[in-house]
């Protein structure tokens, strides 16, 4: 293989890259982080939570009865039949 200037430059770059990857990473000192919300931040969070929709317990007694056609027929109280007194188009 003929060592042209271009090939020499490529070899040089490979050598530099290999040396660089072999070095130790710099040591990082651990830092203690304590996240304490300010009273203002806590109030804001509380407001946001209050705005979230809350699932309320459904009124199951109402629904259970009013979706049961047979039960409704049993419990229905027929209204007093009032004779139709009006005459003519309403």
């Amino acid at each position: 293989m003929k060592l042209t200037p271009l090939v020499l430059v490529a070899i040089l770059l490979l050598v530099v890259a290999a040396l660089a990857s072999a070095q130790e990473p710099p040591a990082v000192e651990p830092v203690s982080v304590t996240a304490v919300a300010t009273p203002e931040e806590e109030a804001t969070v509380a407001q946001l939570v209050a705005m979230l929709p809350t699932v309320q317990p459904l009124d199951t007694s109402c629904i259970n009865c009013h979706q049961d056609a047979e039960l409704l027929q049993q419990l229905a109280e027929e209204p007093e039949v009032v004779e139709k007194l009006s005459e003519g188009s309403g």
């Binding site: 929709p53 699932v55 309320q56 317990p57 459904l58 009124d59 199951t60 007694s61 109402c62 629904i63 009865c65 009013h66 979706q67 056609a69 409704l72 027929q73 419990l75 229905a76 109280e77 027929e78 209204p79 009032v82 139709k84 007194l85 009006s86 005459e87 003519g88 188009s89 309403g90």
Partner: protein, 463 residues
Amino acid sequence: MPPLEVWEKVLINADAVQNDVHGYIPCTQCHGGQNVDDKTAAHEGLVRDPSVDAEKVCGDCHKDIAPYQSLSLHNNLAGYDTALYSRSVPENHPLIEEGESYHCNDCHATCGQCHVSQPTSVGGGLISGHIFEETPSMSRQCTACHGSRVKNEYTGAHEGIPADVHLRQARMTCTDCHGAGDMHGTDYVLTGEIPQHRYDGEQAPACEDCHADDIAIGQGNEYHDAHGTEVLSCQVCHSTTYINCTDCHLQQSDEGVPFYRLEHEELAFTIGRNPLRNSQRPYRYVPVRHVPTFPDLFAFYGENVLSNFDNRPTWTYATPHNIQLRTPQTESCESCHGNDDYFLTPDKVPQEYREANADVIVPFAPPLPERYEYRPEQEAAPPSADPLDAPPPSADPLDAPPPSADPLDAPPSADPLDAPPSTPDPLDAPPSTPDPLDAPPSTPDPLDAPPSTPDPLDAPPGS
């Protein structure tokens, strides 16, 4: 549809309700009562129609609608008060209100009576298992109340009279024309004009909203060209026979059950003078309908309650919902011109009601234009020379532009219908001349008089 059984009226579709956004709200939050199994305890304090208080119950979410519901005529029934109060005096208004509380107030439409249940006035009952429907049902909600007039006219329930063309050909429902803004009252927030009756303010809907091109002058319709857009309301030519009611008695039985008794109903089509003529409804002639009123309407509740009965006509501006392209009126010019049968002539109004209807009565049917009499001699002429095909002369008073000012707001002398005696309108002839109400039909109507200068289009062919 047949009336609902009692139990059917309160049967809910639980699955559908819980998939609806309103299903997140517990029943008792709106309806009160208690979530317990015992029926009596559960219904203690129950509110059948919570949306009576729309702002409180619906307003948390529907902030753009609920606060304005009270502006809607459907909700406030202002039209009733407008008509009844103007026939009365303030000291009698409590008696009217008492009568209304028994006979009228069930007609107040709440949010729920259009979106959840049938209206109370027709017995109520859930329409879709308590699902909230955005668009009301035409049959179970709109025409449940608007039945004897609108429904019967629109659906062709009167024998021999076809259904409205908008239903027959386009299958249009009420909400296709009558929008939510009108029903909810929110339109009036934008305009700032709170209507006091159904024909108060801008026409909505208006025929030209869809038919502007058909109505415009010069589009080839000789009837439209001849009459312009401000002489006749569209319904004068395009509606047909409708119901008229007279002499409604409001009463209560010995047990206190309110009821009414209507003395007389009649199918008829009648053209009268426009009692509401203004810049928004400039027509000289409109269909008029007799409303179910008479001086003793409230006699059960007090003596002479409607002491100013003659303050309003008993034949009122009408927009029948039985529109047809072709009607008996459109058959020929002679259908209306010279034909008293279609007009509210004095002989059709009992003497005791003539004062109330003075603004509506037509002395006689407008005769045919003078030039029309020569038609038989000109039938052989080229079409362009036929005066019936000619554009109306520019000087024809029928085509005069409407007064720029609202004639209802103008002093009486400025109202064209109340023009001074020198105005040769037979509708306003002075008392010293023969009573226009008794004038013979042969008296020429100056509205149809030929222009003062000869119109070249009226000249005989070849001249």
